[in-house]
């Protein structure tokens, strides 16, 4: 309980600073933000009206407090170009991104776990070297290029899977699945490489510990030793990596969504950037940062479940 309270308290200053950084974004625009958004040809009335809407005519502290007050009540402002609440835009786009994130994560886990375990168990063999080289290769492939190659091969040449045409899962699950296979594979392959390397090195650290030797000496076979004893103890760095991966994915999916025309959260940011809709950009990056803080919190709490020593405040040996 103490651990939980301490961890929750630690997120408060982080969220405060996240809000300050996000708020500052619009003030980083060189010159007058309202002038930059509207362009030089805007009428004085339109200019004054936007300044008032953005609160730019007030002192900066007042602007921040007003903005924060709105954010706390779930009001991220009105999109400058679409004239609808930013929260509405984000909530329309998040389901596709969540689906893509889950799909990518599943692909990454399905590849990383068998490959990572095999590489660690067969350390120093051809299998280990090959998987390390393939993993480093996988980490070096730009996922957007892999996505383009997948479209050329699977969509254009073979005609097996669609290159675009996202349909919400609630409308047509089969079409949705078909449209999501390529994006999930293209992004998941790269993520699996990161996860696999982490799992391998983490397993190698644990595999030589005394309790593993004891388990083997008691006559436990290799599979049972790995799955029953080694894996759980090797999970902490893997859980951390998975948490960071989900945070990184939110960024990486910006491009995947653009390539496959998936109306997700990342594509909303790209579209808003090009439309100079800074209110939406501001709202979206705030939501992404809060999501990451939330994921990190869950990851830290998971530590306590995986390793009771953390909950007891004894740290990890």
């Amino acid at each position: 309980m103490k651990f939980l309270v301490r961890r929750l308290l630690l997120t408060i200053p982080i969220l405060f600073l996240v809000s300050v950084l996000t708020f500052s974004l619009i003030h980083l625009i060189p010159g007058d933000p309202a002038r930059v958004i509207l362009g030089q040809e805007a009428t004085p009335e339109a200019y004054q009206s936007l300044r008032a809407e953005l609160g730019l005519d007030k002192p900066i502290i007042v602007q921040y407090i007003t903005w924060l007050g709105h954010v706390m009540t779930g009001n991220l402002g009105i999109s400058i170009t679409d004239r609808v609440p930013v929260t509405e835009l984000i909530s329309q786009r998040l389901p596709a991104t969540v689906e893509l994130t889950i799909g990518t994560f599943v692909v990454a886990l399905l590849i990383a776990f068998p490959a990572g375990i095999l590489a660690a168990v067969r350390r120093g063999t051809f299998i280990d070297y090959t998987s390390t080289f393939v993993a480093l290769g996988g980490m070096s492939i730009p996922s957007f290029w892999l996505a383009m190659m997948a479209i050329i091969y699977f969509s254009v040449n073979l005609g097996w899977l669609p290159a675009s045409g996202y349909v919400p899962i609630t409308e047509n699950p089969v079409q949705n699945l078909m449209a999501m296979i390529l994006p999930c594979l293209a992004t998941g392959l790269r993520e699996s490489a990161v996860l696999m390397r982490m799992l391998r090195s983490s397993l190698l650290e644990v595999v030589n510990m005394d309790f593993v030797r004891t388990a083997k000496a008691k006559g436990l076979n290799e599979v049972k030793t790995i799955l029953g004893h080694v894996l759980r103890n090797a999970m902490i760095p893997v859980v951390t990596t998975s948490g960071l991966m989900i945070a990184g994915l939110l960024g990486g999916l910006v491009i995947t969504e653009s390539i496959f025309s998936i109306p997700g959260f990342g594509r909303l940011i790209v579209e808003s950037v090009f439309k100079r809709d800074y209110v939406t950009v501001q709202g979206a990056i705030l939501v992404s940062a809060v999501l990451v803080v939330g994921v990190n919190l869950v990851v830290d709490l998971l530590y306590a479940v995986i390793d009771p020593r953390i909950k007891a405040g004894k740290g990890v040996s």
């Binding site: 480093l136 070096s140 957007f144 290029w145 990184g248 960024g251 790209v270 950037v273 950009v281 990451v292």
Partner: protein
């Protein structure tokens, strides 16, 4: 010398170094290696497949893809050096000072700001900064550099925390050496290894990030040949001619692989935990 020998034994690290050396030579001698002006358009040679005088074929404007890939190496080298350079200039001094002096500023201002910065997904942060600063290579580099800086702050600070309680630092303090001199002359040289490893790995990410921003149209602007912007332009023609997509992508892949392999090799050579 011992370190060089150890590095040479890493194998994959050496392959990485060779790939990067090739990239550097390609960037320096681009003018000699490229048979065509990378921006010269030839409407009689549109979308040609690889072969003949166009080794990698041509794009939809009749430009020689091979020449553009060769010149693209210049942008990638610049992207790696500038973005990581900015991150080092911001991150290392802050990490050194924060770790050395400690206290409220270190714990509650610097480290919590690092936590907050790292809460923003990197590419989204870079995208947002590039958006407010405007399109272009310079702004993209600032955006990527700022995005990388927290990692350098964290790594440098971690090193300082280990080193500041060592006997030779206490001895320097006792003999009246000034704090700044201790930080830059006694602590920094001993904290360099993890910073070098992080720099190499960050260069790989810097190249990927530049390519990603250019692909989205927020980095290098046409007609300058950058591998990311080449992929952006190739997207509209990838069904008719995949070559404009394949070669710039492969170039990114090999260079990023080179930096990752080099980083891995350096880690095996310089990181004492792995070295043991």
């Amino acid at each position: 010398m011992k370190t060089v020998k150890k590095f040479l034994r890493t194998g994959l690290g050496v392959i990485g170094a060779l790939i990067i050396l090739t990239l550097i030579l390609m960037a320096i001698f681009a003018h000699q290696l490229a048979p065509f002006d990378p921006n010269a358009q030839d409407y009689n040679s549109i979308l040609l497949p690889p072969g003949g005088e166009h080794l990698f074929g041509t794009d939809d404007l009749g430009r020689d893809i091979y020449s553009r890939v060769v010149y693209g190496a210049q942008v990638s080298i610049k992207a790696a050096l500038v973005s990581v350079g900015i991150a080092i200039l911001i991150g290392v001094p802050i990490g050194l000072l924060s770790g050395y002096f400690g206290g409220f500023w270190d714990e509650w201002v610097v480290m919590r700001s690092v936590d907050a910065m790292q809460a923003f997904p990197f590419l989204i942060l870079a995208l947002a900064i590039a958006a407010v600063l405007g399109n272009g290579f310079g702004n993209a580099m600032i955006a990527i550099g700022i995005g990388f800086a927290p990692a350098f702050i964290r790594i440098t600070r971690g090193q300082v925390l280990q080193l500041r309680n060592m006997e030779y630092i206490h001895a320097a303090k006792a003999t009246g050496v000034k704090d700044l001199r201790i930080i830059f002359s006694h602590i920094l040289p001993n904290a360099l290894n993890p910073i070098i490893i992080q720099s190499t790995l960050a260069m790989a990410s810097g190249i990927l990030a530049e390519a990603s921003l250019s692909y989205l149209g927020l980095g290098v602007q046409p007609p300058t040949p950058s591998w990311g912007s080449m992929l952006n332009q190739a997207q509209t023609i990838m069904t008719e001619s995949p070559y404009a997509t394949i070669f710039p992508g492969m170039a990114i892949f090999f260079v990023v692989l080179g930096f990752n392999l080099l980083g891995d090799g350096l880690q095996q050579t310089l990181d004492p935990r792995i070295r043991k």
